[in-house]
Symmetry: C2
Subunit: 459 residues, 2 copies
Amino acid sequence: MIGKSIQPEIRALIDARDFTTLKEIFADWYPADLAELIDDLPDEDEAIIFRLLPRKLAAQTYEYLELEKQKSLLKAMGQEQVAAILNDMAPDDRTALFEELPSAAVQQLISLLTPEERATAQSLLNYPEDSIGRLMTPDYIAVRRDWNVQDVLNFVRANGSDKETLNVVYVVDDKGKLIDDIRMREFLLAPLDKQVSEMMDENFVSLPVHADKEAAVEVFKKYNRTALPVVDSDEHLVGIVTVDDVLQVQEEETTEDIQKIGGMEALDEPYLEISLLQMVKKRAGWLVILFVGEMLTATAMGFFEHEIAKAVVLALFVPLIISSGGNAGSQASTLIIRAMALGEVTLATWWGVMKREIIAGLSLGCILGVIGFMRIAGWTLFSDIYGAYWLLVAFTVSFSLIGVVLWGSLAGSMMPFILKKFGADPAASSAPFVATLVDVTGLVIYFSVAFMILRGTLL
Amino acid sequence: MIGKSIQPEIRALIDARDFTTLKEIFADWYPADLAELIDDLPDEDEAIIFRLLPRKLAAQTYEYLELEKQKSLLKAMGQEQVAAILNDMAPDDRTALFEELPSAAVQQLISLLTPEERATAQSLLNYPEDSIGRLMTPDYIAVRRDWNVQDVLNFVRANGSDKETLNVVYVVDDKGKLIDDIRMREFLLAPLDKQVSEMMDENFVSLPVHADKEAAVEVFKKYNRTALPVVDSDEHLVGIVTVDDVLQVQEEETTEDIQKIGGMEALDEPYLEISLLQMVKKRAGWLVILFVGEMLTATAMGFFEHEIAKAVVLALFVPLIISSGGNAGSQASTLIIRAMALGEVTLATWWGVMKREIIAGLSLGCILGVIGFMRIAGWTLFSDIYGAYWLLVAFTVSFSLIGVVLWGSLAGSMMPFILKKFGADPAASSAPFVATLVDVTGLVIYFSVAFMILRGTLL
């Protein structure tokens, strides 16, 4: 079985308002399944489900919901229920929710917390936005070097129930300084009388609390951990970050990359939730820049106005030729941007990439050139649209295609390198950006080829 | 400290061939750091490092390397060393390596394994490619319902050392059927005399061994687990999948999506490693389709040939207008493809999306329309290029921009819905695809507007 789908019986019980039965059923469910059920329910039934759940399960289910759903539920639930859930939530998930709310609302919600939880919540919110401090939770297991395995297991059994993870245990000195991390696995496999100090290698990876969230993604990826300790500038252990929070950061980063590849600023909010004005702003910026760049095509075309007037047939192929260059460029830039994000391609390998793109661009250009030639030759059999010099026109189009596709591949593949070299985000060399660049130069290539081939005949 | 950077001293020791000191230093290192060091070293030194590592650490370090690096090392290392590493590797990582090698090489390597490891390796390779069976490892902890917590902890201490994870323990009946999963956390927190049967809720999530790899990503995401059990069609436990393997599958999926957005088939191999012929093939397919589609622009332009001959000025703005529509479409389709991949937008919400895009498209179109108008008006002050009817030309360009940008936004946002509705991958509605679609219709919009505004004057 993959998961548990929302059975029609559940819906029937909700419609029948049979809360006693539902309460029994839900007690056995996973938070993830309850969250899915709540997502599917009409708004007015959502708060009811929460009232049927045991306290701890209610908090866990709430943690699983999307932030937007969490926000709307805050309004639908009574104050007592909100207080219960907020006090039982994991501190890191609670910080993520508070980040999304206006500060007046946050102050009000914090006043519902117990003094202990309030102190935790406020200290986490004191860390800068986008810092690792905002991702962490202070619920970890810390042990001393003079304990033995049995001591550690006893300590965990007595104090572990509210900890975010028991997979890793942290060794601190009497000043709270982090001196090692040891996986629970080691304790489960070691003899019970072994000393913690014997198990230590004093070799550990930690995250600085003020570092950027995105730095955590790299470290988690490299060391393949489920949790990492967070330390302040004096190396004191202040919290841990778990992999689920980091995955969310990574997903957001990828979304930003994809949106930039699409030729706009990253939205930073889900499509259906961002305000229309915000979205138009984020899209208009790049659209206007591209438009202004593309105006050069009108200038370039104006430069060739007399040629077009003499041979209108040339104008017919303008969109075909420049768009082929743009498409080839879009392919190349997308490939390189992603390969850079995955670390497959680095600045140093630009020459290897360029060699590949010269061959790939020439091959692709020849393929399109041949098809373009056949198209013009084929059409000529049935119509007179390309006139007496159709063969020369066909050669002009073919050679231009080879040149433009080669140029598109080169510009598209090199632009991410150039941007990265100058400290900009390679993902900004979006398909539309490269297409615009290639459009202008593509026109120059096309009309130059035309001038060489058609001089003395059409031109 | 974030990680451990490769100190110049290490390089000095390698250059000095001081292997005794290196051996001591490396014994304390993390596999991830060793792997990074090896990535940075010249090829001829790589195999040497492995000879300096303790057996277990050598296998763990090897697991961390990229598949391509693993392949090249196989050739550089002696047979004895290869045998040691392959026998100590985690079965799931070994399967991933075997998948990349020609079958003759795999047969040869399998013959180096101990009989036990050979049986494991062969049974994993028997599962279909892209199935969950290829991702799993049979190294898990299985316990019985009549044991108590102390029994389980004793069993783990005696048998756990080669298991992929100790974070979850699986309860099976005497036929090997999976009846529950219990997190190690529960055992660490429960009284030692508690029965396993008392801890069971018989509520678990499992993956079918023949299901597609991509299905595993969804389940891991939903339930937020670090490991999930895999069962055959009789519900027997056959292995487990851990989150690190699933993350890799997810990364590959995102890469496919991004490459499709860039207007090509997914490469399925790293950019610098795929053969040039393969890459050209994967890019040529879509490029030719787009080219053939774009040929309609030549047809459409041919249809308006007489208008262009009468008013060459019209041709000047063709690239500007159609590319603006393409850019708007690229933004819209990228946004919707990503929102669909994240589950933010579903088929049912198409009307909400369309309403947003109508407003966004009109706003963006008006912004570009105003800029375009000012450009033509401004140029006219200094040159006569747009002729006596420049005002009418400016209106033609402005209104066309509004129409084309609106149409681009609508086409770009709706295309992913249409593809998904018909069972295709929404990511195929790439920026180049939408641009091509919009180019052809954009021309029709432009010349229709021109005909209405300029009839009786220029046309």
